[in-house]
Symmetry: C2
Subunit: 305 residues, 2 copies
């Protein structure tokens, strides 16, 4: 009767704030703040943290110190630090500082791939086949992403069959799982469930992750819709980091606090201590000198709950 039957008992959260969040900040966050932030996230119980990306420093200066951040992080049992790598050069940089898990991302549309990767989807997949192969040879775990899996800012609705084909190819080349991303925060729950239903025909749910932005208010509802399809890997960003400071409430990744609050209220295990997570986000708020958009972060617990 109640359509929550397939909601998993436990969810693996992938914290993407230090990478997807901070790369959108207009100001460079100091390296020591990044390290303290990541350590605080690990203290809060987050077991998967996307720490940074090995992209061109001239293109994304916010990520220029990713090597240094990785070098300063102390390894922890049960915590996997992930780096985004766009190519072989990025993989080499990741390997040079001891990174054990990397993520590659392509897109569901050529227009988005061209704008963000400077190439087509097919060409990016050829590159990744080599990147993923080498990463696996080096003993790394690799995650794959399909950006604009629902809506593309250049070409509109993404073709679900193409998303499926790209996801299958990422898995085939050796990715442990594949995340479908609503990069521009435009998807709604029915679209989410329809795409997931298609993917889950061929792919077991534990190999599919979801990555939502809360740009238009549907982020948490889309997480719920995904859980209902049996998905148990969910990206989120501490504080809803990634929001544009000039448009309050807009643009950010779905906030880890809001997702964890919902999950715990539904009896789903995450391993996260919500108050410690809020402390981690507060660190960033102090450095950025502004409030982050996560609603739970600002409101805190109901004292009688």
């Amino acid at each position: 009767m109640i359509p929550l039957d397939r909601v998993p008992q436990s969810v693996r959260l992938v914290e993407v704030g230090p990478r997807d969040g901070l790369q959108n900040e207009p100001e460079q966050v100091p390296t020591e703040v990044k390290v303290a932030f990541v350590e605080a996230l690990a203290d809060a119980g987050l077991g998967w943290i996307e720490v940074g990306s090995f992209v061109r420093p001239d293109r994304v200066p916010q990520m220029a110190d990713t090597e240094e951040v990785f070098r300063r992080l102390r390894p922890r049992e049960g915590v996997t630090y992930v780096a985004l790598v766009p190519n072989l050069r990025g993989l080499e940089r990741a390997a040079s500082c001891g990174v054990r898990a990397v993520a590659v991302f392509t897109a569901a549309t050529d227009a988005f791939a061209q704008a963000n990767l400077g190439t087509t989807v097919e060409a990016s997949l050829r590159t990744y086949r080599e990147v993923v192969g080498r990463a696996r040879e080096a003993g790394m775990l690799v995650r794959g992403y399909v950006s604009v899996a629902w809506w593309c800012p250049y070409s509109g609705r993404a073709d679900p069959q193409r998303v499926r084909a790209v996801a299958l190819e990422l898995l085939d080349m050796g990715c442990a799982d594949v995340g479908v991303a609503d990069t521009v925060g435009a998807a709604t729950p029915r679209e989410v469930q329809e795409l997931l239903a298609l993917l889950l025909r061929d792919i077991p749910p534990e190999r599919v992750g979801v990555h939502f932005h809360d740009t238009r208010g549907t982020g948490v509802a889309n997480v719920l819709a995904s859980l209902q399809m049996g998905i148990s890997t969910v990206d989120a960003s501490a504080g809803g980091l990634g929001g544009c400071p000039f448009a309050p409430g807009a643009l950010g990744n779905v906030a880890t606090e809001d997702v964890v609050y919902m999950l715990h209220g539904m009896g789903v295990h995450t391993g996260v201590d919500l108050e410690k997570l809020r402390s981690a986000s507060r660190l960033l708020e102090t450095s950025l000198a502004r409030r982050l958009p996560s609603r739970y972060l600002q409101a805190g617990p109901l004292p009688t709950r």
Copy 2:
């Protein structure tokens, strides 16, 4: 397979911004701005608008001009303007300015009723039996609300059986429908669906409404969870009005824009023109001299959607 089967094809939105939103503003909004706001909401296609409340002006000065607002509104085909009335005195004031629909609210806990109504739940229901009876005799439509239907800030978890009993009594005394309210914004989707499942054993879904606050980020997800139970009456507040200006992102009602965006993306009819709704919210933003927390309001449509 997809747990959206019972989502209704059409949803009746009850816009509560002018009442539940503005009553929480620290500053009094000028009467002419309120009137322009309500007219703009009606222009946007909202067919049910909670315009104000007939409570004691010394207790809620923000609502002191409710008579004047009602007098200035021009009647429109297809638009019902609702007033909150706490007692017979309020009903008389409503009748004096031609109000055709009123709402009464009690609570699921005595602690909340005592704090907000100065009486117990049972005593409030005795009062309302007379209020609702007289309103019906005067040809008015009456809606009933159960506040803190999931969580109470004073006594914790509300007893679902008590919510059910109060809802049934409100319907029995003549309310057309009954709204269950997450007044403090603490509910999560499983709790929402469990309470609704209980209520829907005795009450047809068209006589049950939901009223969520997005205090902890679960508001839109809770709307989704309600739709999945067949609920088709949803309260929301333009711009997410009701947020505290001193805690960005916190405390507001679920934003009408965010709910409408989700509904339209799911193919659910609302009759609302989203861009006109944003214009209505912009009116308020200008008057309040701050941004409202609705994410869709700030982000706007994806140009390629």
